[in-house]
Symmetry: C2
Subunit: 323 residues, 2 copies
């Protein structure tokens, strides 16, 4: 067996902690450190909620740590985490990031994407942004499903999440329990949906004339109680977000994301209009809290083996599970 | 736009002809020649059943043709087409092949696979075997679906094809209308199922203790009439083939292929036992007659861009559709 990849976990929020736990389970990986100013000085075992110490003190910053790669889980916006990403590249570390805009940084931040690419090449490391959404169900999986198609005319991708089965932070984030007025002010919608759309369009070689995105509240048809909160009938149960890509006046790409408490028939669904047409359903949907850490960790050996530079899910070899 | 890839279609059976037709539709590809001793001297347009000539005479062999790549559709067994594949590599041509054993040539023919790999490297070209099955539904798609899994305990992959909706050759091949005695003599089963199994196991890093494969006739519960033949009640309607891979005495990989006339609820179905468990259904299934040419043609630019040598679906970048 080849030597384990030495990994630093950067960011210890809910996803970062779950990612660190998964790294500790894999004998192909070795957790070499953890970075998060919020927990600096504490033992990682304690931060992960374990009884035993890991003798791994959480650092406030990267400097001084030695490793091969970073799993980066700190923020959704590429420009806001850009300084962290350049520090990682300059330290000669590969980086798999859950940063949503990192799925396709060139979409919103072409100049920054180019700079990160150059830095990665100069330091012989790779970068990729991934996760379950964006990163898998509404982009990578949809793209793979077009491989057996002679012709693709249009794609409709739908993800329905019953937020009531997810962690409290997600229930709050989608606006569950808010008034419509509060929703308008406080819920910006899921970051990364248009990046997913752009990645699919790019893979299919489609130049889009126009991309639209709408974020609207879903109102509860009846009172819904979750473990964490109650949504009264008529209050906001969550969010319905739709991104559309147009070619020649026609919506050829529709990404429809529904995340609300009490959502019936949760699922991931991909419909391809083309030759052949295909209709694919992931029954119950792909659970993000488990699947995002899995995507990050499973992509790590793939990225390490790739050519240096800024990658996307489309430029790396086939993602898949591992021991 | 980059220059079109110049392609030779090698083999003009049903899949080869469908592949040539698809090449002719893509402006990123240019059909530079066709090879098939059976049609040598005839115009390709005529062989494809068109009214107009293509001014492209079919050749008996590769020698003398100039191109970048070959789409190879002549046989299922890697050793039997090996001389064709080495000729293609020696001519400095990339090759995407529908050869079923070519999905993972090292599984049954490790020495030949190594020789082809060395030839490919020496001549700076790539080789990959693909198609819809093997090549997509029972291997590549299943592997991709493990990417969001923290842990995979077992995989069950099922493909149910209503052979009654497929071309006559396939209906005959699966034994439709035969007596059970005739089936035993004449139906060897689908080639490539164990290669699919081995590719998935390899991707997941699983060393299998044992692989089994069973081929059994499906008997018609009632009389079934297709466009081409009639299967009386009790006669053979088609084939049921199951390959299993074991670890520690437990079947961790089950590939269940059912191809018979009158099969109800045709579908491709992938069940992952693990964390998270996933259950994915391609409703109606992925139609092979359309999808296999699509896989071959869509893989071509991916292979051309890859490092020279013998590839598998696991060593190439994400497959997807294209214009």
């Amino acid at each position: 067996m080849s030597k384990p990849i030495r990994v630093i976990q950067f960011g210890l929020g809910a996803i970062g902690r779950a990612t660190a736990r998964l790294v500790l389970k894999r004998n192909t990986l070795q957790l070499a450190g953890a970075v998060d100013p919020q927990f600096a000085g504490r033992d990682l075992g304690e931060v992960l909620g374990w009884r035993r110490k890991l003798n791994l003190p959480v650092r406030a910053e990267l400097a001084g740590l030695s490793a091969d790669a970073v799993l980066h889980c700190t923020g959704s916006h590429f420009d806001k985490v850009f300084d962290q990403l350049t520090a990682i590249a300059r330290a000669g570390l590969h980086c798999v990031s859950s940063c949503e805009e990192g799925l396709l940084p060139s979409y919103r931040h072409p100049a920054l994407a180019k700079r990160l690419h150059q830095l990665c090449v100069a330091h012989h490391v790779g970068f990729v942004g991934t996760g379950v959404n964006p990163g898998f169900v509404m982009d990578t999986l949809a793209l793979v499903l077009t491989a057996p198609c002679q012709r693709v005319d249009a794609l409709r991708i739908r993800r329905v999440v019953n937020a009531g089965t997810r962690r409290e932070a997600l229930q709050r984030k989608v606006g569950a329990g808010m008034s419509p007025a509060e929703f308008r002010v406080r819920v910006g919608g899921h970051v990364g949906l248009t990046e997913s759309l752009a990645l699919v369009a790019d893979g299919l070689g489609w130049k889009l004339d126009r991309v639209t995105e709408q974020v609207a509240p879903v109102r509860a048809a009846r009172t819904v109680r979750t473990r964490y909160l109650t949504v009264n009938r008529g209050a906001v149960a969550g969010v319905h977000q739709v991104a559309r890509g147009y070619r020649g006046g026609r919506a050829v790409l529709t990404l429809d994301l529904q995340m609300y408490v009490g959502a019936p028939a949760p699922r991931d669904e991909i419909e391809i209009r083309g030759d052949p047409p295909l209709h694919v359903v992931v029954a119950g949907g792909t659970p993000g809290d488990v699947a995002t850490p899995a995507m990050l960790v499973n992509l790590l050996p793939v990225l390490v083996a790739a050519a240096p530079g800024l990658h996307t899910m489309k430029t790396l070899t086939l993602p898949h599970g591992a021991r």
